[in-house]
């Protein structure tokens, strides 16, 4: 269970197929987002909450649904995501 939690990442990546005559330099890893709403199912009661002030800034009251996003290609394309 803990191992599974460690492996969870809201950002996945793959290396696109490279043809012999592709004109552009390879992008390396291609990223796509898999936010928590894809995994949670019907929300169960008594989940952890942000404080009301935090919730208004973050856009959700529930910690489980919070997913910070930043451009994954910014740091040379490798930000350690699985």
């Amino acid at each position: 269970m803990d191992q599974q939690r460690e492996r969870f990442t809201p950002m996945k990546s793959y290396v696109p197929f490279r043809g012999l005559f592709d004109p552009c330099p390879p992008i390396g890893e291609k990223y796509y987002s898999t936010p928590p709403n894809l995994y949670v199912g019907f929300q169960s009661p008594n989940l952890e909450q942000f404080t009301p002030q935090e919730a208004l800034r973050k856009g959700t009251l529930w910690k489980v649904f919070y997913d910070y996003y930043d451009n994954p290609y910014k740091r040379g394309g490798d930000s350690g995501h699985g």
Binding site: L56, R57, G59, F65, D67, Y69
Partner: protein, 203 residues
């Protein structure tokens, strides 16, 4: 002197309520009309906030009672998002001279509209009611709504990727998070409608 209350007090006659405040603050730190050109995708684009608001506030008449309230809540919130996007576009273009708009790829927009906002997508295609559906089948409609939220989430990601304005990105991240929560609630609405509780399950 009493400050005006946002909601009616006992005995007060109220014709219409509107809170003149953005859902989340919008701050723009760099003069960058090119970002306005991208942002307009969320204003008058197929998966934009206008399409979302009109889609949900129209579907809600013909959806089971249990989920009408959800569509009303989310549909009206989309209008709050629309106001935020409009504010961003307005701020990014309000002091731009015609030449600056031309260099940002907004020359055609200037010729048609000056700096006025218009409901079109990032490529200049005017908004269309064909961007959304109302099939009347609750599952089909809710699945469309889930897809619309995920597409809007992706659009916000692509705009954040193209933008290097930290203050603008902060507001865009808030809007992206709301798409995630909306998608979650639509998924739960499907679970409510397909629920087989108290029934013998024979498939």
């Amino acid at each position: 002197m009493r400050s005006p209350a946002p909601f009616p007090q006992r005995g007060e006659e109220i014709v219409w309520i509107y809170e003149k405040k953005l859902q989340y603050p919008v701050k723009v730190s760099t003069c960058n009309p090119t970002l306005a050109k991208y942002l307009v995708e969320q204003y008058g684009g197929a998966d934009g906030e206008l399409a979302a608001a009109l889609r949900y506030l129209n579907q809600r008449y013909t959806i089971p009672d249990k989920v009408i309230g959800l569509l009303t809540d989310i549909g009206t919130e989309e209008f709050a998002h629309l106001e935020m996007i409009a504010t961003m576009i307005y701020k990014l273009t309000k002091d731009a001279k015609p030449q600056a708009l031309k260099e940002a790829g907004l020359g055609e927009h200037y010729v048609q509209h000056d700096s006025a906002l218009f409901y079109n997508n990032a490529a200049g295609v005017p908004f269309s009611a064909t961007y959304f559906q109302a099939k009347g089948d609750p599952i089909a409609d809710l699945y469309e709504d889930i897809a619309a939220e995920e597409k809007a989430r992706a659009t916000y990601q692509w705009i954040i990727d193209m933008s290097d304005d930290p203050d603008l990105n902060d507001s865009l991240r808030y809007l992206r998070e709301r798409e995630i929560v909306h998608s979650q609630r639509f998924r739960e609405a499907v679970e409510i409608l397909k629920d087989e509780r108290d029934r013998q399950k024979i498939f």
